[in-house]
C-alpha cells in the first residue's frame, strides 16, 4: 500500500502526519465500539470480523441492539444502510478531487474514507493546505493511519470487554455511545426537529408488524428535518432581502 516513488511516498507520509491529532479521538471511539460489540452479545471472533469488514462505527452501534433483540436480518441491514447514507454526500464531495484516478483506486479510497478522514480532507481543501500533487497518496496516508488506529483500539476493546463480567451492565455503553453520536448533531434546529419526530413516532409505532416502526419513525424524522431545513433557509433569504 505504501507507494514506492519518492514523491508519492512523501505525500503518503505527510497524510499520515496530518491525521495524527485526530487519532486519540478515533482510538476512543474504537475502544467504545469494541466494548459495545462484545457486551451487546457478539462473540470475540464475530466482533473482530464485524470491525474489520463493516468499519463504520455508527452503523455497527446501531445494529447491536437490533441484533440483540432478534430483529429480521433485512431490517438490521437496511438500518445500517440508512445510517451510512451520509457517506453518499461525502463520496459526491470527494469525486471532483479523484475523478482522474483509476476506478480501483477510487473504490479503495472511498471504502477507507470515514467521518474523521473526510472532515480532514475537506478542511485541508478549504484552508488551502491540500497538496497540489499526489492527493491520492496523501489521502491514502490519512486513511491508513486512521484505519490502523481504529482496528487496534477496537480489537483492544473487544478483547478487554470479554474479561468483564456481564452483570456490570457494560452493554449499556453501546446506547450511551449512540447518544454521544446524536447529541452534538442536535445543535442544528432541523436535526432537533427531526430527532423529536423520529423519537415520538418510534414510540407510537413500536407495535407495528415486521418491525416497520423503526422505518416509519426514521422516515417521519427525515421528512420533518427536511421541512424544517427548507423553512429556515427560506426565512434566512427573506431576512437577507429585508435587510438589503
Amino acid at each position: 500500500m505504501i507507494p514506492s516513488q519518492p514523491e508519492r511516498r512523501a505525500a503518503f507520509k505527510a497524510g499520515q502526519r496530518a491525521i495524527l491529532q485526530s487519532l486519540p479521538g478515533a482510538a476512543t471511539w474504537g475502544v467504545v465500539s469494541g466494548v459495545a460489540m462484545v457486551k451487546g452479545g457478539l462473540t470475540v471472533p464475530w466482533a473482530i470480523f464485524m470491525s474489520l469488514t463493516v468499519y463504520a462505527g455508527s452503523a455497527q452501534l446501531a445494529a447491536l441492539p437490533l441484533i440483540a433483540s432478534g430483529m429480521p436480518v433485512w431490517v438490521i441491514v437496511a438500518t445500517g444502510l440508512v445510517t451510512n447514507l451520509r457517506f453518499v454526500i461525502y463520496s459526491a464531495a470527494l469525486r471532483p478531487y479523484f475523478i482522474g484516478q483509476p476506478l480501483r483506486k477510487r473504490a479503495a479510497l472511498g471504502f477507507f474514507m470515514t467521518d474523521f478522514t473526510f472532515t480532514l480532507f475537506m478542511r485541508a481543501a478549504q484552508e488551502g493546505w491540500l497538496p497540489e500533487r499526489h492527493r491520492d497518496a496523501w489521502f491514502a496516508g490519512v486513511c491508513s493511519n486512521n484505519w490502523i488506529t481504529w482496528q487496534v483500539s477496537a480489537i483492544t476493546g473487544i478483547v478487554a470487554a470479554s474479561y468483564v463480567p456481564t452483570d456490570w451492565g457494560l452493554e449499556f455503553t453501546g446506547t450511551l455511545a449512540l447518544v454521544a453520536l446524536v447529541g452534538p448533531a442536535l445543535n442544528a434546529r432541523p436535526a432537533l426537529v427531526g430527532a423529536v419526530a423520529a423519537g415520538g413516532v418510534a414510540l407510537l409505532a413500536h407495535g407495528l408488524p415486521y418491525r416497520l416502526g423503526l422505518f416509519v419513525a426514521a422516515i417521519a424524522g427525515i421528512a420533518a428535518a427536511t421541512l424544517a431545513d427548507s423553512w429556515s433557509a427560506r426565512r434566512a433569504t427573506a431576512q437577507g432581502e429585508a435587510s438589503s
Partner: protein, 111 residues
C-alpha cells in the same frame, strides 16, 4: 422478545452491513459520467443518520414489556438523561460514558 441473531444469520447481517458501507462510501467516487446530488436529496441524506439513530435509541431506552417507562426508576432513562446533560457542556465522550454508566448503575443498585 426474540432470541438474539446468531450463526449464519449473523454472518449475513455483518456481510450486508459491510456491503452497505462499501456501496455508500464508493457511490459517487465510482459512478460513471457525471452524477450529481439534488440539493433536496442531499438535505434528506444529511439528516438520515440522526433520525435513524434516535428512532433506535428512544424505544431501546423507554420500552419495557410493551409499555413506555418514563419513571425515574428506569435506569436506562436516567443514564441517557445524565449523558445528555453532560453533552450540553462537553464533547468529551469519556465523561459522557462514565457519568451515564454511573447513573445507570446507581439506579439499578437502588432497585
Amino acid at each position: 422478545m426474540n432470541a438474539p441473531i446468531d450463526g449464519i444469520a449473523l454472518g449475513i447481517v455483518i456481510v450486508g452491513l459491510a456491503l452497505s458501507t462499501f456501496v455508500t462510501r464508493t457511490s459517487f467516487l465510482v459512478a460513471g459520467a457525471r452524477g450529481r446530488l439534488h440539493p433536496r436529496i442531499e438535505t434528506a441524506l444529511r439528516y438520515a443518520p440522526v433520525c435513524t439513530l434516535t428512532a433506535i435509541i428512544v424505544p431501546d431506552v423507554l420500552m419495557h414489556a410493551q409499555h413506555a417507562d418514563f419513571s425515574l426508576l428506569n435506569p436506562r432513562l436516567i443514564g441517557v438523561l445524565v449523558s445528555g446533560l453532560w453533552l450540553l457542556f462537553s464533547r468529551n465522550i469519556f465523561g459522557c460514558l462514565a457519568l451515564g454508566m454511573a447513573a445507570y448503575s446507581l439506579v439499578r443498585l437502588a432497585q
